[in-house]
């Protein structure tokens, strides 16, 4: 995952939100990042601190990150399990017929603004 590319899109989305809702200052941005989204969170915060200065409305904002745990569904024994611990193979029945239910997303949950 390319952190800088995501930040550029994030800033664009927030700029637009600020225009639509007549916001002059965004104080914080809360992002929910899936455990298996591939985003390197340390790098992400560094990218944000560099890039936010380019946008008047974002320049004093803080990026807050929340983790979304990754969950996989086993279609064979119809149960969920922790993706990071067990991967693609179900720990209950050993089946490989499994799908990621959540954990690869990156969502802008909320912003604090005025």
């Amino acid at each position: 995952m390319h952190e800088m590319g995501i930040i550029i899109h994030l800033a664009k989305t927030l700029d637009q939100t600020a225009q639509e809702q007549n916001l002059t200052k965004i104080g914080s941005v809360t992002l929910q990042v899936g455990e298996v989204s591939g985003i390197v969170t340390d790098l992400f915060v560094e990218c944000w601190d560099y890039f936010k200065k380019k946008h008047e409305v974002l320049k004093d904002s803080v990026l807050k990150l929340e983790t979304i745990p990754a969950v996989t569904w086993c279609n064979n024994c119809k149960t969920n399990y922790e993706t990071v611990k067990y991967g693609k193979t179900c720990p209950h029945c050993g089946s490989g017929e499994t799908w990621l239910v959540k954990g690869n997303e990156c969502v802008i949950k909320e912003i604090e603004a005025e």
Binding site: M1, H2, G5, I6, H9, L10, K12, T13, Q16, T17, Q21, L23, K25, G27, L31, G38, K88, G96, N104, E105, C106, V107, I108, K109, E110, I111, E112, A113, E114
Partner: protein, 218 residues
């Protein structure tokens, strides 16, 4: 300060650009095909073969690379319209960049437009480019373990071309193992083992492209 709930995808601005580009291409009746693979898997060679074989299909190519114009010049020498896109270091194409390239190439009167994405198995899979068909290439020398190492691209692609099949005897590439690993990630994916050099398997892949174009225009 007040709290505003957004619950929007972080790439929402890209997703909107992608949808807008897709509707424009639908109006024009052009099928935009996003070709993704690592560097050196044979994207340009595969497209060259498709252009040479499909004489009755008008093809244009958007060549995305970090630097140079060698690929676009080669494609133009085969008679297809091509434009070189320099990403200036960016490791993938997003919808905004793709839309700008589609605008710049001024090739409305085409059937198939290929976007040759930057050679990289990771980031290109993360961004919707606005294409309506995602094709990934894996070449035999890269190894049959790539679906295990880079699962996202295999799960996002509509079709997988396994290229350089003429070199199979020189490498320890297990085709059956590779296919089952890919199918485990993406049961619906279409798989085409080909050699653009000998022509092996190209007919099936070209028929698939034509069928997709027909569906797109239906």
């Amino acid at each position: 300060m007040r709290t505003i709930k957004l619950n929007a995808s972080v790439t929402a601005s890209n997703d909107l650009d992608a949808q807008a580009l897709r509707s424009r291409m639908k109006e024009k009746g052009v099928l935009l095909v996003n070709i993704m693979s690592s560097a050196g898997s044979g994207k340009t060679t595969l497209l060259s073969k498709v252009i040479t074989d499909l004489k009755d299909t008008k093809i244009a190519v958007l060549e995305a690379d970090i630097e140079s114009c060698v690929d676009a010049e080669h494609i133009e020498s085969l008679g297809a319209k091509a434009i070189q896109v320099h990403t200036s270091g960016m490791c993938h194409m997003d919808a905004g960049m793709t839309a700008a390239a589609v605008e710049a190439i001024k090739a409305d009167n085409v059937d198939l437009m290929f976007l040759e994405n930057v050679g990289n198995l990771i980031c290109p899979a993360e961004y919707d480019t606005g294409s309506s068909l995602n094709v990934m290439i894996l070449s035999v020398p890269e190894g049959d373990d790539k679906p295990l190492k880079y699962p996202l691209m295999f799960s996002k692609s509509d079709a997988l071309v396994i290229s350089k099949m003429d070199t199979l005897s020189y490498f320890t590439f297990d085709l059956d193992k590779c296919v089952s690993r890919v199918k485990a990630l993406n049961p619906d994916i279409k798989i085409f083992p080909v050699s653009a050099k000998t022509g092996e398997g190209m007919d099936e892949f070209e028929k698939y492209l034509k069928a997709c174009l027909k569906d797109w225009r239906a």
